[in-house]
């Protein structure tokens, strides 16, 4: 049970996030009416472009929103190409085949594929990093100072984002001034459980407190360093036989 101070801190944070989300220009105006409810559509319109939403992936429910945020951040900010999603779609076909449809895509499998995908990418060196940083800053939209306080509906949408981040890193949400800060945080936090090295994890957490962008880039680097087909198979629940 939360104490009063924690509850107040959460309330303030949600109010701040709600204001940020409300102010964001929509990524698109499309309504996905067949299965999704009102709240999902608002979440999608504010944070996920259709290029990422419209994929063939069947992701487990608990990982669905954080996977979408992570894939959006990777394809539009870090790698600036959609190929990672296409690779995951092909991987899903394999997953369905080898598990006879019993397993669906989850964030573990996605993390392993990110690592393998990053192996084929040039190092995130100074030149490419500055370009990534440019993309990051260009779309890191923040609310104007004059923005009105968040309305209840957007506080609830903010709660959807809040719940995507682990308790350990929730305080970092308070530092998120813009859209990409949020996405980088959700991505970094989602991947942490899939970094094997405790030392690297510690380093990521330390970096996260100073600069969420650097932490997100470092996460990609760690996933790449630890990438292997065996790791992917492990997450897919597939043995060599």
């Amino acid at each position: 049970m939360k104490n009063t101070r924690d509850a107040k801190a959460e309330e303030d944070l949600l109010e701040r996030l709600g204001k940020l989300l409300k102010c964001l220009p929509n990524e698109h105006d499309k309504e996905y009416t067949r299965r999704f409810q009102l709240q999902h559509n608002t979440f999608f319109q504010k944070l996920i472009p259709t290029s990422v939403l419209e994929n063939e992936l069947e992701i487990v429910e608990d990982d669905y929103l954080k996977s979408l945020v992570s894939l959006e951040y990777l394809t539009n900010v870090i790698f600036s190409e959609r190929k990672l999603i296409e690779n995951l779609e092909k991987l899903q076909e394999v997953l369905v085949k080898v598990t006879k449809g019993t397993r669906r895509m989850d964030i573990g499998i996605i993390s392993a594929e990110i690592g393998l995908y990053a192996l084929d990418k040039p190092d995130l060196n100074k030149t490419s990093l500055s370009k990534i940083r440019e993309r990051y800053n260009a779309r890191n939209i923040a609310p104007p100072v004059s923005a009105k306080p968040a309305e209840p509906y957007y506080i609830a949408i903010a709660k959807m984002v809040y719940d995507l981040v682990s308790d350990e890193n929730k305080p970092e949400l308070a530092k998120a001034a813009g859209k990409n800060n949020l996405k980088a945080l959700v991505f970094t936090d989602s991947m942490l459980s899939y970094i094997d090295s405790a030392a690297e994890k510690k380093k990521i957490l330390k970096t996260l407190k100073d600069d969420v962008f650097n932490a997100s880039v470092y996460v990609v680097d760690c996933l790449r360093k630890e990438a292997s087909v065996d790791k992917l198979k492990k997450y897919m629940g597939v043995s060599d036989g």
Binding site: E31, T33, Q37, L38, P152, Y153, A156, D163
Partner: protein, 292 residues
């Protein structure tokens, strides 16, 4: 070579009952001007930035946050994701229209004047010479304005917003969602059910006392899963209730499901044209009463 001088048209006499006579082409009502949009102020509700709901002309917004959906069926609420808010009334459409007219009185007065000037092509002195003409022109204007209204939504402003088979609308981010009660929502998917299952589901879902919650409707659907097309089943159920993070809206004891209709702009046009119609009608009536 100069053009031939046109032959003057024969002039038609018009009689103003009980008064004098004058020539009909001394004044003209310009029909195209009657239909022209007024540069009237934007209706308040269209400018509203926060989520709002309209049910039977009553307007609502989200109010106080509460821990969970109230047990009292008379208490209106909306749950968005895990957050539950009481739904509170903020007035009704007619009151809002009256406020619109009183707050913008000076601008509307000016619009009325311009409207009359633009609709009538005649000498300023004519009605002064024939005082009965005010009433006659006013009457003709009213009848033309009324026929304009009947081409669109009649005079039913609420009809602009609410569609048949729905309970009202919800507007967020300038988008309109029709509010459909759970029974009507299921009715829309009749073809996805087998007839026995459908009639049994309908009777259970539309039980009046107490009206089943979305979660209960979802569990009714689950218990009849074999009677529903496998493809349609998750689409119907998940829109009503998916899990503890599903949204819920209850107004007047009825659970409502938001169904996307379109952008608010499309309603704004209809709503504004009815407000314009009222401005025009009042302008015509005031003209008909003659100079004050």
């Amino acid at each position: 070579m100069s053009s031939p001088t046109p032959t003057p048209k024969p002039r038609t006499k018009q009689v103003v009952p009980g008064f004098d006579i004058f020539f009909k082409d001394d004044f003209t009502i310009i029909d195209s001007e009657i239909a022209r949009r007024l540069e009237s102020p934007k209706p308040y509700i269209m400018d509203r930035d926060e989520l709002w709901i309209m049910e039977k002309e009553q307007l609502y917004e989200l109010g106080e946050k509460v821990a969970s959906p109230p047990a009292d069926a008379g208490q209106d609420y909306m749950k968005v994701y895990t957050e539950t808010y009481l739904v509170k009334p903020i007035g009704n459409l007619q009151d809002m229209n009256e406020k619109y007219f009183s707050d913008n009185a000076a601008q509307i007065k000016e619009l009325k004047k311009k409207f009359i000037e633009s609709c009538l092509d005649m000498s300023q002195d004519l009605p002064k010479q024939f005082p009965g003409l005010y009433g006659q022109i006013g009457k003709e204007l009213c009848s033309k304005i009324d026929s304009l209204g009947h081409d669109k939504h009649g005079s039913d402003i609420a009809g602009v917003f609410e569609q048949a088979g729905t309970e009202g609308i919800l507007v967020v981010d300038k988008k309109v969602y029709d509010l459909v009660n759970t029974s009507n929502f299921i009715l829309k998917y009749e073809k996805s059910f087998d007839p026995t299952g459908f009639s049994e589901i309908c009777s259970k879902v539309s039980a009046p006392n107490p009206i089943p919650t979305p979660r209960e409707v979802a569990s009714i659907l689950v218990s009849y899963k074999d009677h529903i097309s496998p493809r349609a089943f998750p689409l119907i159920k998940d829109k009503i209730w998916c899990n503890d993070k599903s949204s819920e809206l209850r107004i007047g004891g009825i659970y409502l499901i938001p169904e996307y209709r379109g952008r608010l702009d499309m309603l704004e046009d209809g709503y504004k044209s009815l407000l314009d119609l009222r401005i025009k009608r009042e302008a015509a009536e005031e003209f008909g009463r003659g100079p004050v």
